[in-house]
Each structure stands twice: as C-alpha cells, then as structure tokens.
C-alpha cells in the first residue's frame, strides 16, 4: 500500500516550484497540444505526477526536467488516443489573414503546419526551437538517441519548408 499523507515541507517546496515554473510549463504544454484548455490539463497531469514523485527526485534541479518529460510523454499519449488513425493533410487550407501582414501570415501558417506534424516531431520542434534545448538534452528528455533527434528535426523542417512553399503557391 502506498503512503498517503500530508507532508507540509514537500507541499511548500512544491508550491514554490509551481509558482515559479507553471507559467513556462503552461506555454510549452500549449505548443505541444495547441489548445489552452488542453494545455492546462496537461500541466495539471504533469504536476500531479511530479508531486507524487517529489521525494524521489534528486533535488529541485531534477524537478523541472521530470515535469517536462511527463508532459511531453503524456501529450504524445493523448495524441495517440484522441487522434489515432488521422494523418496530417498534405496541404493545409489557406486561412484568411486579418491584419494583412505577410510576416504575421507566414508565422500563422508555420504554426498551422507545426500542429499537423506527427507528435514526436512536434515535440522535438518545440523542445529544440522554443525551449532551445540542445540535441543531447532533447534526446534525454524524449528517451531517444541524438541521431533520432537530428533525423526527426530534419524531417520536420523539410515538411514545414515544403508545405510552406506549397501553401504559398496555392495562395497565388
């Protein structure tokens, strides 16, 4: 039977951690799932598991990577469960751009394309280009090799580059 009880010191440490880092986790979660409400669920799931593991984690420095790892893995699991069988479309439909800004429109298109990436590629993209993690840290967090990080990144970039070009063509 697992221990069930209150630990005021751990609660205090945990609350401190959440106060400082939950915003960052929330942003990363959004980039992984593309919806703020889902992102909140994802953060909560990660925080629950982190709190359960709190005493096992070797110091505060280990906490955030653990929470992040739970979040990424959970997001991937959600993706599998909720969108199993679906495939990213070859070309996303063009959306009207409200402000007429080309740069803004391009960033919007990129975001649409990122959302259509397979979950593992999307996680690699978020960790490498939003979190600015090194290839080695990304590999550690995702439990994959550095070589896989490189290949997934390359595939994702190639997909984005190609589809961005296609949507530009279609817009003409």
């Amino acid at each position: 039977m697992r221990a069930m009880g209150r630990d005021p010191a751990a609660e205090l440490e945990f609350r401190d951690f959440v106060a400082v880092r939950s915003g960052a986790l929330h942003r990363t979660a959004y980039l992984l799932v593309g919806d703020w409400a889902l992102a909140e669920d994802l953060v909560q799931t990660a925080l629950v598991k982190t709190y359960v593991a709190w005493r096992r984690l070797d110091g505060v420095a280990a906490v955030e990577p653990y929470a992040r790892k739970v979040m990424v893995n959970t997001a991937t699991a959600w993706w599998r469960r909720r969108w199993r069988g679906e495939r990213p479309t070859g070309v996303l439909p063009e959306r009207p751009v409200a402000d007429g800004s080309d740069q803004r429109a391009e960033r919007d298109r990129v975001w649409q394309l990122i959302q259509a990436l397979p979950p593992r590629q999307r996680a690699v993209v978020v960790l490498r280009f939003y979190e600015d993690l090194s290839e080695a840290d990304t590999a550690r967090l995702l439990d994959i090799t550095v070589g896989t990080v490189k290949s997934q990144t390359a595939k994702a970039m190639e997909t984005l580059r190609r589809q961005l070009a296609t949507t530009k063509e279609n817009a003409r």
Binding site: G5, D7, S22, R27, Q44, Y51, A77, R81, M157
Partner: protein, 378 residues
C-alpha cells in the same frame, strides 16, 4: 530561414497565456487521488481475527465509542504494521525498519505470511525496489527495477510485478526468497494491478490521471499477448474478493456510458460481469476495500466513503452508510476500518458513521501514518 520562422511562430503563439487556477493546490489534491488509486487496487484486506485477540489498535475493536487514546506507556501494538513518514516500517511490536539510503522513500507495504513486502522508490524516478522484512525485523532484498509496487493476491500467496519489459508472477518461500513462477515479455504499456492464483490483471493509464484500461495475462496459457481493446466496459477494479476467484469492480452498462455499476468480475472470462448492482453513488475510483469476511465494501462514493453490504446489494442496491473520509483505509476486523486522514488515523465501524481518533502507541501524533494491509490465506 525556416528555423527562424519556427522560433518566431512558437514564441508568438504563447506570448499571452491565460492564467492558471491554483495549479499547485489542484495538483496536490490530484496527487492524493492518484496515490489512493494506486494504493488500494489490491487492498482487499483479509483475516484479522488475531488483531482482535491481541488488541491490535488499542481499543479499536471495542466499538467506535470505546476508542480510548492509549497512555504514553502503552505497550506496542502487536498487530498491524504502519508506514511512518514515508520512510520507515513500524512493525506491530514497535520496532522500526528503514530501507537503505539508496532508496529515497518507502512507498508501499503489504503484510504476508512471511513478513512484510516493502516497496522502495529508487533514485531513478521510474523504478522501485522490492524488499521483505521478516518478523525478526531483518530486511532482505528481493528485486530491483520494478515498475511500481507488486500486486499481491488476497491470500498473500501470489505476487506479480513488472521490471522493464518483463512481467512476472511468483511467490515467497519460507526462507524469504522470491521464486519466479512464470514470466513473459511485456513490451507495451501496463503493470499488474491485481493477481490471483491463475490470472494477472493489468492496468494502464493513457492520461496519467488514473487507470483507464485493463488487460489480462493467464500464465497457464503462455506468453502475454496485449489485447487492451477487449475489455471495454470495466471502469475500475477494486481487487480480488476473499477466495480469490472473483474480482470486484465497476462496469459501465454500455461502452462509453457515464453510469457505473458495482460488479463481480470473472478474471478468467475477460472480466465479464457475473453480478451487477446499479444506481449506487460510487465514483470511478479503484480505491475500495472489502472486509475480511467479504461482507462489506468500503469504496469512494459521492461525499465520502460508501459502505456497501455485499450480501444484499445485488438484490437491493443501496449504500448502508457514508463515512466522512476521502478514501477507504484498511479493515482491522470484519466491521472496523482504520483510515489515514489529514489529522491522523480515524476508526470507522459498521453501524456507526461517527469516526473516532486512533493512536498508535509510540508514534507522535503528527507522524504521517499509513496502515499496512494484511493478506492471509482464508
């Protein structure tokens, strides 16, 4: 460059995140629920007549109104063991056993005939270690690299555990050694949540918020073949009933239905419900404990712990009482349960919903104290 565009796009999307609503408080509450779910999936406590005979929890068996706080000089309790402050096992005779410093916490314990099975959390966040504390208070290592705590059969004779990609069943022998009876590759998700002499019930979680899918391994039929999509209407498994031939759990009348019914489940027929009782105010939570005589179920209900008479519920679905606690604890006899609560241990009795404080001699009142379930042959 596409990389720069990706960076700009990602940062722009999260420039103004909405505020979170007390994420720490909700996570702490959620963690307690998760612990409860993990804690009691196999906790059908059995055979505690000796508790009464030896005066286990001082005064408890005299009824809820006869629960005196023992004097400071009271002798150590000779019956139940407790996990104290997530770090030590307090044996019934008052001795304390701690895991080596390599283990960061003592997370689970189960009393069996050979002593106490103890699970420790290792520095690696994903694995646990399994130990046996024999009655002479000596600690024996049994296994490393477990995924969570082992499932222990209701009679304490059978164990199932997972390490890496292997699933095992086994048993203890008198010398305290753990003997592997069968093993199978288990490359996919899942871990054992209940075990009988013939079946291992597996659970898995897709969201991290609780066990939401189930599967079975019948060692006599060979290696485990994942078939998580076969059992579609089981919502929760409380654990094996005394005797070990049936399980108790919750089922949905139809796949996807929000309603749940209490059910006896046949572990050798894909958890088919053999008896059901519907319209009970039960929550989908596997925290449930059956009294040692199989008469009473204490499970998470709406507004407290629902006490259900298993001898009548299938004919007349009803809750006998609702106890004011978040989750069920450990039965110390056929009518009395000890529940760990925020302010210490509480005792509840059938026929009286008023909880009484329970003190364990020799422990400070502010210690986090969790009673250890007993598994004994019928």
């Amino acid at each position: 460059m596409i990389e720069d565009l990706v960076r700009e796009s990602l940062h722009e999307r999260v420039a103004q995140p909405p505020a979170l609503d007390d994420p720490a408080g909700r996570a702490i509450a959620g963690a307690r629920t998760l612990r409860r779910r993990r804690a009691l999936v196999a906790a059908c406590v059995i055979g505690v007549a000796a508790v009464l005979a030896t005066g286990a929890l001082t005064g408890l068996h005299g009824g809820p109104h006869m629960l005196p706080v023992p004097p400071a000089s009271a002798p150590p309790s000779p019956s139940l063991a407790f996990i104290v402050n997530h770090s030590a096992l307090r044996l019934p005779d008052g001795r304390s056993v701690s895991l080596p410093p390599s283990e960061t916490a003592l997370t689970d314990a189960d009393q069996v005939r050979e002593g106490w099975l103890v699970t420790g959390a290792t520095a690696d966040a994903n694995t646990s270690s399994l130990w046996l504390v024999t009655p002479d208070a000596v600690l024996h290592p049994l296994a490393q690299g477990l995924v969570g705590a082992p499932a222990v059969s209701v009679d304490g004779l059978w164990l199932s555990w997972r390490t890496g990609t292997q699933l095992f069943t086994g048993h203890l022998i008198d010398s305290g050694a753990l003997i592997v009876d069968a093993s199978t590759p288990m490359p996919d998700k899942g871990f054992p949540i209940a075990v009988t002499s013939t079946v291992v019930v597996l659970g898995a979680t897709a969201t991290g918020g609780g066990i939401d899918s189930f599967d079975l391994w019948l060692p006599a039929k060979g290696h485990y073949v994942p078939s998580w999509d076969v059992i579609t209407t089981v919502a929760a498994v409380y654990g094996p009933l005394p005797g070990g031939h049936s399980l108790l759990g919750l089922v949905r009348p139809a796949q996807g239905s929000k309603e749940v019914c209490l059910a006896e489940l046949d572990p050798e027929a894909s958890l088919r419900a053999t008896r059901t009782a519907c319209n009970l105010p039960l929550q989908v939570d596997p925290a449930g404990a059956v009294s040692p005589d199989g008469h009473w179920l204490a499970a998470v209900g709406n507004g407290g712990v629902a006490l259900i008479d298993l001898t009548t519920v299938y004919d007349r679905p009803a809750v006998a009482a609702t106890w004011g606690a978040d989750w069920p604890g450990v039965w110390v006899d056929a009518r009395t349960m000890v529940v760990p609560a925020a302010d210490g241990l509480l005792g509840f009795s059938v026929g009286d919903a008023t909880p009484q404080p329970v003190r364990v001699p020799g422990l400070p009142s502010n210690a986090t104290t969790t009673p250890v379930p007993r598994h004994e042959p019928v």
